[in-house]
């Protein structure tokens, strides 16, 4: 498919900047806790929670809640669906970048 036409097919669940940052971080590890995601993405706690919920509802992220002593501890991981979706998103973006680069050269 023409990369330009694929723009319309881009995964909007991942494409949103905050969710893209979250999936990028989770794609580079087995799992990460809420504190690490907060530190890496510089999102606010509420914002991060909201986006994680959306990703979980979409089946891209699994969230596990536990306790470390008295404190709640949330661990997040990309599901297999989420990893495939992120890889597909990356391929689309790279194809688009190559297409635009070749257009510019012409």
């Amino acid at each position: 498919m023409d990369p330009i036409k694929e723009i319309g097919q881009v995964d909007r669940l991942i494409h949103e900047p905050a969710r893209l940052a979250i999936t990028a971080v989770l794609s580079a590890c087995e799992s990460a806790d809420f504190a690490f995601l907060l530190h890496s993405t510089s999102l606010s706690k509420g914002n991060l929670s909201a986006h994680l919920s959306k990703l979980e509802t979409g089946g891209y992220v699994s969230i596990r809640k536990s306790f470390k002593g008295k404190y709640p501890h949330t661990t997040c991981a990309l599901t297999t669906t989420g990893r495939r979706a992120f890889e597909r998103y990356q391929r689309q973006q790279m194809a688009l970048a190559r297409h635009l680069g070749s257009d510019r050269r012409e």
Partner: protein, 227 residues
């Protein structure tokens, strides 16, 4: 967040996190040091005499003590994992969170080439011996040198894949040091000790310096006074 994030940078920093405090370097240093020392000891006359005396006094079961050196490096590695977990959860990662790294820090390609270097090195040693150009001790030293080259290549590979020049440098230094062992006229046990101590030194320095930096950074984040 309204601006598209630099996802390559985010992914790179996440992959670096596991190695950014130097504890993995120290764990490897411990493994190499204990392995090298254990092998040297196992082949030394002092240990043999000691084992013999133990067996005379306490019976044949005492011979099992001779196998202790086999398990010690593995026990040390697992023990170090526990230490790392405590240090990270209480201090180093207390503010910045916890990550479970990807299982494959090293790509299959790097692992394959590393294995080829190891096997190839040993094959070269055996080949030279069959031609009569070297003696048996050289072939045994080649075993350790090839191990050093193989591990050195793995570190260089990790350094390139994770974009961490620290590992590229350590890998090259270690590989050169392993070559020195090959050219030094020492026995099998001494070569193992030299390899183990060499990697212990290189990895300890790397890990120690990195850990100090990470500790100071974590201290600033928690408001602890610097040491």
């Amino acid at each position: 967040m309204t601006v598209q994030p630099d996802i390559q940078d985010l992914m790179r920093r996440t992959r670096h996190y596991e190695f950014a405090d130097g504890l993995r370097d120290l764990q490897l240093a411990l493994m190499f040091g204990l392995s090298g020392a254990g092998i040297w000891l196992a082949f030394s006359p002092i240990w043999m005499a000691f084992l013999g005396a133990l067996m005379l006094r306490y019976g044949r079961w005492a011979a099992w003590a001779g196998l202790l050196w086999v398990f010690l490096p593995a026990l040390a590695v697992f023990g170090m994992l526990g230490v790392m977990k405590v240090l990270r959860s209480r201090w180093l990662w207390a503010q910045t969170g916890t990550v479970r790294p990807s299982r494959w820090a090293v790509s299959r390609r790097v692992n394959l080439i590393s294995a080829i270097i190891l096997v190839g090195g040993i094959a070269v040693g055996i080949g030279l011996r069959s031609l009569g150009w070297v003696n048996e001790i050289f072939v045994l030293r080649m075993l350790w040198t090839a191990t050093g080259w193989s591990f050195g290549y793995t570190l260089v590979g990790v350094g390139r894949e994770l974009d961490m020049t620290r590992y590229t440098r350590i890998g090259l230094v270690g590989a050169v040091a392993s070559t020195v062992i090959l050219l030094t006229p020492i026995g099998f046990g001494a070569a193992a000790l030299a390899l183990g101590l060499g990697w212990l030194l290189v990895l300890s320095v790397s890990g120690g310096v990195t850990l100090r930096g990470a500790w100071l950074t974590a201290g600033k984040a928690t408001g602890r006074g610097s040491d």
